[in-house]
Subunit: 364 residues, 2 copies
């Protein structure tokens, strides 16, 4: 047992050095953290595996695996989605990029009626990014994942040199199971259907713009970033025959309704005075020449149901904390197909087209 032994198997010093793993020493991300080597393994162990804490991820295989038998007990179809998150700034009133990366993908699964189950997490880090900030973001992801009852089961870490990426980008992909009998699609809408939303629009976009600090404006508006999967289950419990459902994120409420109108070849009439918008958001939009109907949200669900189901769905939504401000804001009409019309507060009617150009880059 000589520490200068040339046989490494008999060298206790070597064994000690080799086993000291699992804690990141540097205060900042270096290129070595993306190398595939020891520094990367330590970063993954210390930040991600410890924080996301589940038995699938901690296997550290190149892929997560789960039994199909347990999935098929929960439904008959698999839902699969992905989103990259590039929001700027990383932290903003009411939320941050980590929570957003979980809720965004959870919500893209939930709007199909799926029960979200498993998420991946892939990060692209700029050299020099603070490890403590990364830890805070990972903790936010885990808190959000727990709240939405999903597990982060596989991941990837890449590091690019300073200036090749702006701080941190996160991609999450997600898998969920859709219960038998649920068929929600943007193509299903029929004239006469009611359009329901679960609350105020425009808060997320406004919160981000104000957080950028380029405007001398102050408000207490916070992002509405929240998981919608539990609300969706509440709705499906009272009405499994939802026609269409989507979360109004990038492009806002107006974009979702345009997508619905185009996919289902129906018109949609929206009533401006029914749409819940905070007075501060209205004021903010007026000053900047923005339209709140195009502002991004991160916790707003647009539900389209047969008129005879509207009241049942509405009252179920109102009974849920995430839907307590739910209201009917419009209806599908036979003509003009593919077009969204806005009945304004003045009683006139105008086309609410798809967003042309870009109001706010890097909103999500």
């Amino acid at each position: 047992m000589n520490i200068f032994s040339t046989n490494p198997a008999q060298n206790p010093l070597f064994q000690t050095i080799r086993r000291r793993r699992g804690k990141v020493q540097d205060p900042h991300i270096t290129l070595a953290h993306g190398s595939g080597g020891k520094a990367m393994r330590d970063l993954i162990d210390d930040i991600f595996v410890n924080t996301f804490d589940n038995s699938i991820l901690s296997q550290l295989e190149d892929q997560a695996t789960f039994n199909l038998a347990s999935l098929i007990q929960q439904g008959d179809r698999l839902a699969f989605t992905t989103d990259s998150y590039v929001v700027d700034p990383l932290f903003f009133p009411g939320s941050n990029i980590g929570e957003l990366a979980i809720n965004g993908t959870v919500n893209d699964l939930a709007v199909s009626g799926a029960k979200p189950l498993y998420l991946s997490c892939s990060v692209i880090l700029e050299e020099g990014f603070a490890i403590e900030t990364l830890r805070r973001i990972a903790e936010s992801m885990q808190t959000a994942a727990k709240k939405a009852a999903v597990q982060i089961v596989t991941g990837d870490t890449k590091v690019v040199h300073r200036g090749a990426a702006d701080k941190l980008f996160i991609n999450t992909a997600g898998i969920g199971v859709i219960p038998a009998g649920v068929t929600i699609s943007a193509h299903n809408i029929q004239p006469g259907d009611a359009v329901i939303i679960n609350g105020e629009v425009g808060n997320h976009g406004t919160a981000i713009l104000i957080a950028r600090g380029e405007l001398a404006l102050e408000t207490d508006i916070e992002s509405d970033c929240q998981p919608l999967n539990d609300l969706v289950q509440t709705i499906l419990n009272v009405c499994p025959q939802i026609h269409a459902m989507r979360d109004a994120t990038r492009g806002g409420l107006a974009t979702v309704l345009n997508e619905f109108a185009l996919s289902s070849h129906v018109g949609i009439r929206l009533h401006e005075n029914y749409i819940p918008i905070r007075e501060e958001v209205k004021g903010f939009c007026e000053i900047l020449g923005l339209d709140p109907l195009y502002l991004a949200n991160e916790g707003k669900l647009v539900v389209v149901v047969r008129p005879e189901n509207a009241e049942t769905v509405l009252s179920a939504m109102k009974s849920h904390p995430v839907g307590k401000h739910a209201c009917i804001i419009g209806e599908a009409i036979p003509s003009p197909p593919g077009v969204v019309l806005l009945k304004t507060t003045f009683g006139t009617e105008r086309i609410l087209d798809m967003l042309v150009g870009d109001q706010l880059p890097r909103i999500c």
Copy 2:
């Protein structure tokens, strides 16, 4: 039918303008292509939906869905993985970021024994990126997807302002099904097991470094970027009891073997003179002070099997175009656990540790 009609339903001009969709007009990516609005929809239609051409993606729902019944016919477990690709340059001898983004994720599924089925594709684009380059990359992705028999079924597009990302990053996540009875894991290795590789190591890393053009060196070395799933199926057909299998990407062969040794608490002895390395790669590494065993590969499979299965697996691999240079390069040993030893060409033995630091950033 007056084109000045204030009722949009009766305005034929409006209808004509509105229907002209699906072709990107700008030569370069603008922030509007990430807005969620019309420009983004046109980009997605024109570049991604047209190129990836499948009925699941073209639904343009927020999530792809597939029947669990059809999955369960192919195996009993689901495999799920993700990787982001940040390789620099985007095009390099033998491959490009698009092909890499498909093969990398296909291979991460394949090494579990899974049949890869469905991929997602999420791109982060820098404002100003050339649309035609994006189209070429998407076409490479589709060619690679076809070759690997997978479909790209869901995706996302984000745009960041000039300077906030270096040209283009791609994330792919993937889903596959593992046949019943196949249990491959880095934790399964037993002393005595044989370590087999399907061909030359270090080509991808060398090709990337030379493509960066910072060195006054020229070679004809090309990336080995290729899908491994068909080779894996060939191996499983003759020997379903593979102990461990992984593709040697970032961190190279040395890193994979260290991961195996740590996970299975065994030692691994590697024989330097058995490892296939091109003379040009050796020469290149000598000049630059690099070690080819740590250089990234994108089509190299490391397979660990019981000694009595080694010859069967080896000859099956040699019969496959992707495995024709396969050879046995080492064996698992009881001690020192967690350590990889390299028996050098000079007959001495040294520790082949995990990569410390970073040889080559943005290699994949």
